[in-house]
């Protein structure tokens, strides 16, 4: 009988759920709101529906991301650092350095055979995160998902000298008012984000292959800027948002199978999906 394992990653802006058996059988991405538990419930329900499973069919559930402690039906909480490493290793086994650009933070992770050897996370500043790009997209009146594509037509990227998101927004407005073209501005913004991320990640003694995950990985302009900073091509998984949730499911699978082999019993949360409660 095939066993199924679920991973749920509650990030600052998106919630992701993945169900694995022998391979990925379902993955769902939904927005994160202040009511993490409720959304976790809904996203997991959707993933189960996609897989044609009931919650009872799932052997073990691991939650990750900033909201990991708010998932009542998770059997275990593991940080996104460990889960990203596990997830990326399963998808791109040659990767030694992960750059994750999320909604509110960015991080660098060094891995060896899927295990974390060191990591860095950004400070409390929004520069170098998806939030920075959201603010600029809003300022320019450009859909977030179009930023990358538009930036590729830049003739000469503008120089955005401020790393502070608020001041950078002012700088973009000022340059816009002096006639700077939008593609040049967006390319300049990508360069500013890439510079910030590179400064963070290079503390890790970066080794290729490098993979980029998180929402930032969906932006081709940012990927191009990062490749310029690292001086080599970077790898992007087919769906860069789900690597944390995938890793969570795989960590759960590994732990369960290890426990099974060694005759141990893993404690489960004992709470079904329907028992999710808000802030209880």
């Amino acid at each position: 009988m095939e066993r199924y394992y679920a991973g749920i990653d509650i990030g600052s802006t998106m919630t992701k759920a993945v169900i694995v058996g022998e391979s990925i059988i379902a993955s769902v991405i939904g927005p994160t709101g202040p009511e993490h538990r409720k959304l976790a419930n809904k996203v997991m329900e959707k993933a189960l529906g996609e897989a044609g499973l009931k919650f009872e069919d799932v052997t073990y559930v691991v939650s990750t991301g900033y909201g990991r402690v708010n998932v009542p039906f998770a059997d275990r909480q593991i940080t996104e650092i460990t889960c990203h490493a596990k997830g990326i290793h399963s998808l791109l086994p040659t990767v030694k350095t992960i750059v994750d650009i999320g909604g509110q933070d960015s991080k660098g992770i060094k891995i060896d055979s899927g295990k974390v050897t060191s990591f860095v996370m950004n400070d409390k500043c929004a520069a170098g995160t998806g939030r920075f790009l959201e603010v600029i997209a809003d300022t320019l009146g450009v859909p977030l998902e179009k930023l990358g594509e538009i930036s590729l037509s830049a003739e000469c990227p503008a120089v955005i000298s401020n790393t502070c998101t608020v001041f950078a927004e002012h700088e973009v407005i000022n340059k816009l008012s002096t006639g700077e073209k939008i593609p040049n501005l967006i390319a300049g913004v990508h360069d500013a984000v890439a510079t910030r991320v590179y400064a963070l990640v290079k503390k890790l003694n970066v080794e290729a292959d490098i993979a980029v995950t998180g929402g930032g990985a969906k932006n081709v302009g940012l990927i191009k800027a990062l490749e310029g900073k690292f001086g080599c091509p970077v790898l992007v998984p087919p769906e860069p948002l789900i690597t944390g949730a995938l890793g969570a499911a795989l960590v759960g699978k590994e732990r369960y199978e290890h426990a099974l082999q060694s005759g141990q019993t893993l404690t489960r949360s004992g709470q079904g999906l329907q028992e999710a409660r808000l802030f209880s």
Partner: protein, 443 residues
Amino acid sequence: MAEDKKPRSLATQAAAKIAKFVRGNMSATLKAKEEGKKVAYAYINDGQDEIMRAMDIVPAWGESFAGVCAAKRDAEKYLQKAEADNFSRSLCTYATCTIGFDMWREELNGQTPPDAPWGGMARPDMIIGSAQQLCDPRFKWPQATQHYLQDVPVFVGNMYYPPWDPKRDHHEQEAIYVKYAKAELLELVRFCEKHTGKKMDWDRLAGLVDLTEKTWNLFIDTYELRKAIPTPMDTGDAMNTMVPITFNLATQDAYDYYKGLYDELIQKNEKKQGVIENEKYRLLWGAGLPSWFALGDFQYFNDKGAVFPAEVTYRNAEKLERLDLPATNDPLERIAWRWVRFWTHWYDKARKRPGSSPKVERIIEYIEDYKCDGVVFHSAFSCRSWHAGIIHQAEVLRKIYGDIPILIMEGDIVDISSYNEVDTHNRIDAFIETVDAYKAKRS
């Protein structure tokens, strides 16, 4: 699902006594003023303790006061005061906190600002600084303070030690540095004599040097008891128990304190009584001052099964026999040799390991002696002396010693705006998972 918040607890009774100790040091400065004794602003690890104590000068420690303000999360008003006079937030926040306090007190014509933590410090009669033994901001901090306390005389001495150079034998240079340090200490004696109106009692000074040396030996003997598995005391406590060796050196109180701690740790080891019940991970606090407003993070590590049996920070003493000091009866020369050798005695060992440095060699020794599974650094942004070198130390450690989990935490010593508890705990969680994976791989 969220973990319960637990109050911070201390493993040893000795550590629990420290608040009274610190408060006593601060109130001693206020009492000294009432009794007509001289009070000096003083700075830790300057080699000046015995001289001040021999001259009956009561030290007022800015670093201690700022730490108390931070621990009580009440430093912001002083930081803002200093910032309003254009002191950057990136300057040492020990300095800016106390300068803000000094500014406020001067505005009140010498009265202690209202609600000063634990009554504040007395206005000093003199400022006795020394730079380079520990950190360079202390060249300018006393001078900046004098900008507001213009009638207060300032002495800033220097006690250098030979810089690390793997290609150069420092032994040839040590005597020159000691000669210079001794001259600086003698200059300090003259300064103290001038401003106290008393002559130095050289026999008393020699007795206090004896007492300091005894205290250094006892301190190390005591801390080495933490090698036991489970460890009876970790860094969470050591950030308290460092007070006597740091702020009360050359006093009988300091010696007696460590005798009490020594006895307590012996008893704990006999009963195999560890800091936590199930010690799973042993970590080294590799460098950096802690965030005094977030000492509860040590508890967070403990809750994850991690303990710190050793730390570089505030282990500012060494066994005298290890320093192999030249024989001399001159108390100033003894002080000078002890401090110069405190820093240089790692050099020979570091030279034997290509690519190493004294600071990294010290970390390696503690990793091995205390059987540590990982290293945690704390990069306090305003503490330039340590902040700037931490990444380099971590890189060198990995390169020459091998793969060991390292966590670099970020924050500050005093400025709470640098701190995010959720982020910090998230990093600790991830680090513990990493240490666990390393241990599993090794086993």
